[in-house]
């Protein structure tokens, strides 16, 4: 099964593609796309839609996952973190693709099949590998989201 995980931030989109199983995830592909952080909301929504579409049509994943930010306190955070979830969900509805969304706290060691007490972010590289450039925590979160939906 091919899983893709997304993570959105201000003016950027990260994705990581994994295959394999929860116990042995296999890295396939990743990407970081940027847009001017000043982009008006309507244009930003179109940008997210166009890029999600382009990526998904190219990668042809079986399932989609995304990391969700729950702590939204400012309007610009809503636009950068929350609205993309709406776009992504509608996209998956239209394309008939399954989607799962996970808060950071939900991506636990247990759910990822890691030993008790392990920190997923720290274990990420040992299982998935390190894939520079831009292999930072924002990128790892997109990998963790994809990892969450791999089969047991």
């Amino acid at each position: 099964m091919k899983a893709i995980g997304f993570n959105f931030a201000k003016g950027q989109l990260r994705y990581t593609v994994l295959e394999g199983t929860k116990g042995s995830p296999l890295f396939q592909n990743k990407g970081k796309l940027d847009i001017s952080p000043d982009t008006p909301t309507t244009d930003l929504m179109n940008w997210i839609h166009s890029n999600v579409d382009t990526i998904i049509k190219r990668v042809k994943p079986d399932a989609i996952a995304a990391r969700m930010h729950w702590k939204i306190t400012r309007q610009d955070q809503a636009k950068n973190f929350l609205f993309p979830m709406g776009i992504l969900n509608l996209y998956c509805y239209n394309e008939n693709l399954p989607i799962n969304v996970f808060g950071t706290q939900a991506m636990t060691a247990k759910k990822l099949g890691l030993p008790k007490g392990a920190k997923p972010l720290n274990e990420c590289d040992s299982l998935i590998g390190s894939h520079p450039p831009n292999w930072d925590n924002a990128q790892r979160y997109s990998a963790l989201a994809a990892w969450m939906i791999l089969p047991e």
């Binding site: 796309l33 940027d34 001017s36 166009s50 382009t54």
Partner: protein, 339 residues
């Protein structure tokens, strides 16, 4: 050739929109749907082979928000010969070529058109289709999306470096097309680069620009076209850098795919969206203020900078020669387009 009022089955001709090497495009009324359409009528050279139908099939395969939408394709016998009719959505705003002739285009609009075309082209490339004829006349304007059109020279099933015999618009051809007869994804990227070059330089009369070159064919085969024509002083360096990269003579040094190219444009942040009103008057209408630059030649040559019609003294300057004033104005623009 058809005239307004002529009918071809359910289509009645409203007017001719353009004609090229292979066919003619008309704005028509479709009596069956009660809708306006654009149809391209092509002569079928050999009905046994029907090579012309490939354009319709490729358009269908490349369905995307940024590729012109095909409704259907059909064969009609007209005056004893077989014609192929490609039925498309009609875009009243016409082509980017017409838009460029009608008036200057500001940086925000340029970025929008070119990124849209790159999304459309990326989609075509992902389907292993090369367009091979990208130029302003083959780009259609519509709101909100700009569309890549005219897949008449497109080809399917490309490997990394397909040899192509068909040549697109000569001045948009990368050097390897002339030297090695190769068309590839990277020659499409080059052609988008030349298109962007024409837009940022506000070059409406491209033939006139080409005619200033001593040896245009040599410039094309050496890949030195952009360098020989050069950039106008008002072109921001960030724009120029992107064009140079897209049009590098060596394919390996260009953007290697549409995504890289459009990302370079998408990362730009516009500070002042300067639109040229005339050669001595530019205006940037931003959300909070309207900036204007004027070159006034009364006794001296004065460049006047206003924000909401009030002079901004720090940017106003007088010159003895009109050339110096022009350079100052153009450079003020070039420096303030992007943050």
């Amino acid at each position: 050739m058809f005239n307004p009022g002529d009918t071809i089955q359910k289509y009645s001709i409203i007017k001719e929109l353009g004609n090229g090497r292979f066919g003619t495009v008309y704005h028509v009324h479709d009596a069956a749907l009660g809708a306006e359409k654009a149809i391209k009528i092509l002569d079928v050279a050999d009905p046994a082979q029907m090579k012309e139908i490939l354009e319709a099939q490729i358009l269908h395969k490349c369905r995307h928000e940024n590729c012109v939408h095909i409704n259907e394709a059909d064969l009609y016998e007209i005056g004893g010969t077989i014609k192929l009719v490609i039925d498309m959505e009609y875009h009243p705003a016409g082509s980017l070529e017409n838009r460029l002739i009608a008036g200057s285009i500001g940086p925000a609009e340029i970025i929008r058109h070119i990124t849209h075309i790159l999304y459309g082209l990326e989609h075509a490339h992902n389907q292993d289709v090369l367009h091979r004829d990208i130029k302003p006349a083959n780009i259609l304007l519509s709101n909100p999306s700009t569309k890549l059109s005219d897949f008449g020279l497109a080809t399917e099933g490309v490997g990394p470096g397909t040899i192509g015999s068909a040549k697109g618009y000569r001045t948009h051809c990368a050097p390897e097309i002339f030297n090695d007869d190769i068309t590839s994804k990277l020659t499409d990227i080059y052609a988008v680069g030349v298109t962007l070059f024409r837009l940022i330089n506000q070059m409406a009369d491209w033939d006139a620009v080409m005619s200033t070159l001593n040896n245009p064919q040599q410039a094309l085969s050496k890949g030195s076209l952009i360098q020989e024509i050069g950039f106008n002083n008002f072109v921001p360096s960030k724009f120029a850098r992107i064009v140079r990269k897209a049009c590098k003579p060596t394919p390996d040094e260009r953007y290697q795919n549409c995504e890289e190219f459009r990302q370079a444009l998408e990362r730009l942040t516009i500070n002042l969206n300067w639109v040229r009103i005339s050669s001595n008057h530019w205006r940037a209408e931003m959300a909070d203020a309207c900036h204007e630059l004027r070159l006034l030649s009364v006794r001296k040559h004065k460049v006047e900078y206003t924000v909401n019609r009030r002079k901004r003294r720090a940017n106003c300057k007088s010159f003895d020669s009109i050339e110096d004033a022009q350079i100052y104005m153009d450079e003020t623009i070039a420096k303030s387009v992007f943050s």
